[in-house]
Amino acid sequence: MQRIGVFICHCGTNIAATVDVKAVAEALKHEPGVVFSTDYPYMCSEAGQNIVKDAIRDYHLSGVVICSCSPRMHEATFRKAAAVAGLNPYMVEIANIREQCSWIHKDIPQATEKAITLGKAAIAKVHLNAPLYAGESPVVKRALVIGGGIAGIQTALDIADAGFPVDIVETKPTIGGKMTQLDKTFPTLDCAACILTPKMVDCAQNENIKIYSYSEVTDVKGFVGNFTVTIKRKARYVDETKCTGCGICTEKCPMKKVPNEFNLGMNNRSAVYIPFAQAVPKVATIDPEHCNMLKKGKCGLCAKVCTAGAIDYKQKDEFIEEQYGAIVVATGYNPINLDKFDEFAYSQSKDVITSLEFERLTNAAGPTSGTLLRPSDGKHPHTIVFVQCVGSRDTSGCGKEYCSKICCMYTAKHAMLTREKYPDTDVYVFYIDVRTPGKSFDEFYRRAVEQYGVHYIKGMVGKIVPQADGTLAVQASDLLDNKQLHINADLVVLAAAIEPDKSARPLATMLTASMDTNDFFTEAHPKLRPVESPTAGVFLSGTCQGPKDIPETVSQAGAAASKVIGLLCKDKLTCNPCVAHSDEWMCNGCSACEKVCPYGAITYEDKEFRMPDRTTAIRRVAIVNEAVCQGCGACTVACPSGAMDLKGFSNSQIMAEVDAICK
């Protein structure tokens, strides 16, 4: 039972022309609990608001109903006015008698009657309103970036520049990610390392940035503004603080036959290694899989040669716990496994390689020091076939249904660079479509075709058969000329589809962030909130959200950073008070609500209860984190007992509205 004031707005003639506002005010005056009812030409005007404020004070109103335009228009206005007059803003309800009444109905009696009904529904609801208070939660002013590729690096740098401390967790021994493995970048053909390594160094030198390389996130608790993250620092058996990165250990290490992952296994490294010259942090790491000392306890050479005394065979995995206000996911991508595409003979021939391997073959720091040589025999290839869309846009179930987006451009780049460096080479590109929507992209592709004479063939490669003479018989179809093609190639480069890194899914579970069926993180809104995950405080950067090239990645990284900065700038977060609330006496802990919550706002606790019969019982009950809940109400329907209810839109409130409308 409230003391309710009802205020009918004329909205000039917008409402008053079709709704008899006086009649509405009069009719609503007799509703239970209504102690004041009036009308006014412009309720939202200052004078109108003053009427509301005065009535709240004079009549000791505990609830206010405004019959006016859509709540989407002026609900906030009237809530503020109520607050000024000392009434809880959530004791205000709006009956929409303009957009949903006066503007659509022409018949005055009919519109008036409907306006009265809508008013009654609002009155019925406000009777059951309870004052709501927006909670506040403090913000830890530190951000975590998961993934140290270009996306993570850029995000971290931008956040750090704004003055906030930021940690990067990178699972590899060095940051840099995929971009470090690239040779040149399209469409400008500048060298990847030249533009990336300065940023890596910036990261290392920035006071606000802390790099946890060779580390993984193992647990995430908490919520926006207040995450507690457990980071596993894998034992690298080298004291990071002591290692100078001189590289003596890597030279002296007797175990030199370890496939070098940086070069995709196309050459070897030692058991103690620094991934590449510009690695950040530039410290050695011992690979426990291959180190004789760690495996068999024999050797210990590196420790002997290390003048800094950095080698520590006894190092253990270390778990550290840190607090963060925001988390940016930048877990990146990998080319897909090509096991399912054996028609391309990837597993059978060393000369069938992926585009990323091709990058290494043309990179000056690569296994061939930048000379394009066939992996099988080290000879210079004369005919190269590029196959596009290997596993992309694949509806057969073997690959991915989506377009990997970057392949068209890097293949054009590879083809062009090959023709430029080795004009004697024939280069064929088989494609389904060539997609070049980007600044200077199409020009770039046309240059490859027109200026460099790359043979672009619209068609599919059916089969690649390694021949006895070491060549590769490529069987393909030319769809434009409608004929079969047979090409004897020396080298075949497959533009493998890219997919999210495998670490993404477990991470998404930890973060309660949602993913699509391809394991790309979903955005809070695909158009309007593309760098936020639906889970508050979790942001997306780079290819973890979807395939994209470097400029797009960098711009998304910046966008994510700006969102993080926006969040960290606040001292406290104001929560939406219209959130779910669980009545723990009614909750039976069945977990239905948790399963439908898109935000991971619901957790369970085994709580001790003092029962009415004076015994104590341990009961599992749902707890809603009000800082995380966004108030959709999915849980309230999943909950059969009604233990879960939504503040501001409670079961009883909505049913009261239903009753009033159907009366």
Binding site: V596, P598, F649, I654, C662
Partner: protein
Amino acid sequence: MQVNNSEFKPKIVAFCCNWCSYAGADLAGTNRLNYPADVKIIRVPCSCRVNPMFILRAFQRGADGVILCGCHPGDCHYTTGNYYTRRRMTLLFSMLDYLGIEKERTRVEWVSAAEGAKFAATMNDFVETVTKLGENKRLEDLRCKEK
């Protein structure tokens, strides 16, 4: 007694999600797109807030039709809410049908904030359908009938 359908005014309850459909209804108003005054809208944060109890309650209290409007699948403000709505309502409506209650009295429609015209058209169509069906008898509570 023959019900004279031309005089029968159905009571229609429309649940609209705050972000899409309620905005769509507002847009219908802004564009002055007419639909019958028999439709009364209840604003909910998301279509997934609508409990089957609310729908039955509306019928109990004398509603002749109940329509539920939400964002298009995939566009939910809360990402996934309307997907749950879709399952819940499909099953509920199927059950009502199974009990012999006219299935045309219930409907789910996806209306975006930009689809004012669709909102109005949907409501016109729904009111027409329910008007043809006449008064809700099979799911009524006699106590709630005005004597």
